[in-house]
């Protein structure tokens, strides 16, 4: 009896969900998800999204391009591309016949499109695979379209958008098809090295050799809700593990939760999202390659300037500072992002395991200067605090941050980090996934990045969990924030053998901004409104903006070699004999707290 033959490569596994389209013209369409009959023009007006249940109908590639690109902006290239029957392959039908049938059905010669176009005037190079052409499987012609597009994007330094929908590699072209994975991936690799933006839009369904090559290699990975994306098809997996798969398995939401996608966007948002990314990157390119100097793009600010005089700020007991730093209403990263920066586009996921909500990252503009922002995020409501794990990151959070740091370096964008964490999360899963490794790698990565990095401690600077985002060129602290090797409570328990001695420990640890300024751990204090940042968040944000702009203004003019060398020296001095300042004993006022 024939045994189940399960493909273990997945790469040559065309999943079972692929089917030819019904392709009958009808003025009323039936939604495959909710079975509602929907008037065709209503569906079209709704971009092919069911108005009853929000099901995203699959789009033909042409229709997708019509939705995304400016009218009449598409310039098609690659008319000469056509599948080649390299193996003289035949199953129940000769491959050549299948190709001819697909060509008749789709009106496409190659089964793929490549060319140029614009989105709101922003130029891009684009490529796409037509799912209606033999299940969108990737043979030589489709691989060629993707590769030529990537090469054109590289030559012209124009952002690349690739739209995927595919069952995987094309079996009928054998190993030549498999090699398309390598061919396309290496072309994308060159783009990444050259710092040319690549946006990958993964549509329903994207599998096998396509998902396991160029489609997953975007600087930004975007998918529509409920799109199915995976390596092996679900029934291959079910047959292998002999278990029924859970609802929602391999949907965009599932992948997003597991850190594999930057964004899951409803169809109506796609054009706007892509346009935003293109605009931001166009500015970054202008700064990097050309006419605009970064310093000129920084905004004018009117906040109270930072100070490097430890005596210039209100004198508070360290324990009081700790309480203010932890105040439940204190502004957090997302609040500063909304006020200090413009056009924040959050990007998600570490592409390894998850999307840790305790760290938020993304692209934004500071004035007209594109930057990458990475910050700890605590919650405000109980459920939000739980979701954000009280601002205590898992390794996945740091890995997401590192992904965005590399992104910044690739595109020459300065990095701003906002630190506010009690510490990295002490948990079993965190240890299993390498909390120490993640923190260590983040520190090392930051120390060598060839773009300016400014860190602001906005609240709690909890030890290694804080430093993982703070190995930067400038360390700023809000007046009522603290930065410490251990929490005062932890120190009190261990060294003072008394948890109630936390206020004493807080004083002994010298964790306030003025003391850390004296120790040269940090560079400047950002003043807060009199009662603390939470009493007037807008004023606090204005001061934050002024301080960040001032630091960046000094850093963006530096040559990357010098930047990295200065950063090295900055951390090299700590504890070095003769270079490390030493503090006098804690005075009586602080001790008595």
């Amino acid at each position: 009896m024939p045994r189940t033959r399960v493909s273990r490569t997945g790469a040559i596994d065309v999943p079972e969900m692929i089917a030819p389209s019904r392709a009958l013209t009808a003025e009323w369409r039936r939604c495959p998800a909710c079975e509602a009959f929907v008037y065709y023009k209503r569906l079209k007006r709704n971009l092919g999204v069911c108005p009853e249940c929000n099901h995203h109908f699959r789009l033909r590639l042409r229709e997708r391009l019509d939705q995304l690109l400016d009218a009449d902006s598409l310039e098609e290239l690659g008319a000469e591309l056509e599948p080649v029957d390299v193996l003289s392959f035949a199953d129940s039908k000769p491959y050549a016949e299948r190709v001819a049938q697909a060509q008749r059905k789709t009106g496409s010669t190659s089964g793929a499109i490549y060319g140029t176009g614009t989105v709101d005037g922003q130029p891009l190079v684009l490529a796409g695979i037509d799912f209606d052409f033999i299940g969108g499987s990737m043979g030589g012609a489709a691989g060629e379209a993707i590769t030529l597009a990537a090469e054109l994007a590289l030559d012209t330094r124009t952002p690349l958008l690739v739209i995927s929908a595919s069952g995987g590699a094309r079996m009928q072209e054998g190993c030549v098809s498999l090699m398309q994975m390598a061919k396309t991936s290496q072309a994308i690799g060159r783009l990444a090295e050259a710092g040319v933006l690549y946006i990958s839009l993964l549509t329903d369904p994207t599998y096998g050799g396509v998902s396991a090559s160029f489609a997953s290699l975007g600087d930004v990975l975007i998918a529509e809700p409920a799109a199915h994306i995976g390596f092996a098809g679900p029934s291959v997996i079910e047959q292998t593990i002999r278990q029924k798969l859970p609802e929602g398995f391999q949907t965009a939401g599932f992948l997003f939760e597991h850190g594999m996608l930057d964004l899951v966007e409803p169809r109506e948002n796609l054009r706007r999202t892509i346009r935003g990314l293109l605009e931001l990157h166009a500015s970054a390119r202008d700064v990097r390659e050309g006419p605009a100097a970064a310093a000129d793009r920084l905004p004018k600010t009117d906040g109270q300037p930072p100070t490097s005089d430890p005596e210039a700020v209100a004198r508070r007991r360290p324990w009081e500072v700790v309480q203010l730093a932890r105040h439940l209403e204190r502004p957090h990263t997302l609040e500063y992002l909304g006020v200090v920066f413009d056009g924040f586009q959050e990007l998600h996921g570490d592409r390894l395991f998850g999307d840790d909500a305790a760290i938020v990252c993304g692209l934004a503009k500071l004035g007209e200067l594109p930057v990458v922002v990475i910050g700890h995020q605590k919650g405000r409501t109980t459920s939000e605090m739980m979701e954000r794990n009280f601002g205590m990151p898992q390794p996945d959070g740091y890995r997401k941050g590192m992904r965005l740091m590399r992104y910044a370096a690739r595109f020459g964008m300065p990095i701003v980090t906002l630190v506010d964490t009690p510490g990295a999360y002490p948990g079993v899963g965190a240890e299993e996934r390498g909390q120490s490794v993640a923190i260590a790698e983040s520190i090392m990565l930051m120390s060598r990045l060839r773009v300016p990095i400014v860190t602001l401690v906005t609240g709690e600077g909890g030890s290694g969990g804080a430093l993982a985002l703070a190995a930067s060129d400038r360390l700023l602290m809000l007046e009522n924030s603290y930065y410490s090797v251990i929490s005062p409570e932890g120190c009190a328990t261990i060294l003072f053998k008394d948890a109630a001695a936390a206020p004493r420990a807080a004083a002994a640890l010298r964790l306030t901004a003025p003391d850390l300024l004296r120790l040269r751990v940090m560079d400047a204090i950002v003043p807060e409104p009199e009662g603390g940042a939470h009493t007037d968040p807008v004023a606090a944000a204005a001061n934050v903006k002024t301080a960040l702009v001032e630091s960046l203004r000094e850093l963006v003019v530096l040559d990357p070699d010098e930047l990295v060398q200065r950063r090295y020296e900055r951390f090299r001095m700590f504890g070095a004999p003769g270079r490390q300042p030493v503090l006098p004993p804690v005075d009586a006022i602080e001790e008595s707290a």
């Binding site: 009896m1 024939p2 045994r3 189940t4 033959r5 399960v6 493909s7 596994d13 065309v14 079972e16 969900m17 692929i18 089917a19 030819p20 389209s21 019904r22 392709a23 009958l24 013209t25 009808a26 003025e27 009323w28 369409r29 039936r30 495959p32 509602a36 009959f37 008037y39 065709y40 023009k41 209503r42 569906l43 079209k44 007006r45 092919g48 108005p51 109908f57 699959r58 789009l59 033909r60 229709e63 009218a71 199953d91 129940s92 039908k93 299948r98 049938q101 697909a102 059905k105 789709t106 009106g107 209606d132 033999i134 299940g135 079996m171 029934s235 291959v236 047959q239």
Partner: protein
């Protein structure tokens, strides 16, 4: 406004340049804001472009020219495009008053009736629409599903056959015929239709589904020998082991080893039905919202 503005707008509309048509018509309306011809073209183009005021423009035309069928048909179209199904039905009823055979109106009223829960009315309208249209009309396509839901597989089959005749290269249409023929036990017809899906389905991996259908037919009419042959063939193209159970059952039966009741006939038929349902689901899921190319 130049004298030929309406004809220019109309020409653009007919050429599919909806933006150009709308702009030309709107330009003309600045001088003659109540010109029904210009309003009609602006409104029609607006429907295609998703303009918010298209329905309003077309309602004004209907008010000015209530005796023209087009006026109400356009208005119904615009309202349906906005999802205002009830109001659209009112407009289409006006169409029927003026032109009782109007296919678009009958089709729209059929779907509107279905949406409001009156299945019998829906079928009645759609049957009338289908009679007046040739081949694979919207009405006929929807009737297949509606009959099926109302427990009228013979009628569903008749409708499916007409669609398959009108769209002879469409695998999904052939699949409907196959499934419904099996259901009403017209085995020869079912077998032919499954063979046709095997031929038409351009996804090689779907061959196994067609074979499962053929096995199912042979089992139902008691030709277990042929069923076993087909099952062996299916096993050869089946990459996911869906045929294993069926094949084991048929081989055991062949060798007279009926003592093994691990897999009984009912289970095997269940598996084959599931395979068929899966195939249908895949085709439904794959439906695009744009006009197809077949």
């Amino acid at each position: 406004m130049s004298a030929d503005t309406p004809s220019e707008a109309r020409a653009r509309f007919e050429a599919g340049d909806f933006r150009g048509a709308r702009n030309a018509a709107q330009a003309g309306l600045e001088n003659t804001p109540d010109d029904p011809d210009l309003l009609r073209i602006a409104g029609r183009a607006g429907v295609e472009l998703g303009d918010a005021d298209a329905a309003e423009q077309l309602r004004r035309v209907a008010d000015m020219r209530p005796d023209e069928v087009e006026s109400w048909r356009d208005l119904g179209d615009a309202l349906a495009a906005e999802g205002r199904t009830g109001e659209a039905a009112d407009a289409f009823r006006r169409v029927l008053k003026l032109s009782p055979d109007d296919e678009a109106a009958l089709t729209a009223l059929g779907h509107a009736a279905y949406v409001t829960g009156s299945g019998a009315d829906a079928v009645s309208y759609l049957e009338q629409a289908a009679e007046r249209a040739a081949g694979a009309s919207t009405a006929m396509i929807s009737l297949v599903d509606m009959y099926r839901e109302m427990g009228q597989p013979v009628d569903a089959l008749a409708a499916a056959v007409k669609i398959a005749e009108a769209a002879p290269t469409n695998a999904a249409a052939a699949l409907d015929v196959a499934e419904l023929s099996l259901q009403v036990e017209r085995f020869d017809e079912a077998l032919r239709a499954f063979e046709r899906t095997r031929e038409l389905d351009d996804v090689a991996e779907h061959e196994v589904y067609a074979l499962h259908g053929m096995i199912h037919v042979e089992m139902r009419r008691g030709d277990f020998e042929r069923a076993l042959e087909l099952a062996r063939e299916a096993g050869g193209v089946d990459r996911h082991g869906r045929t294993a159970e069926v094949l084991a059952f048929l081989e055991a039966r062949e060798s007279g080893d009926s003592g093994d009741e691990a897999t009984n006939l009912e289970e095997v038929e269940g598996a084959l039905s599931a395979s068929l349902a899966e195939h249908r689901r895949l085709h439904a899921q794959d439906s695009r919202f744009e006009d197809g190319g077949d």
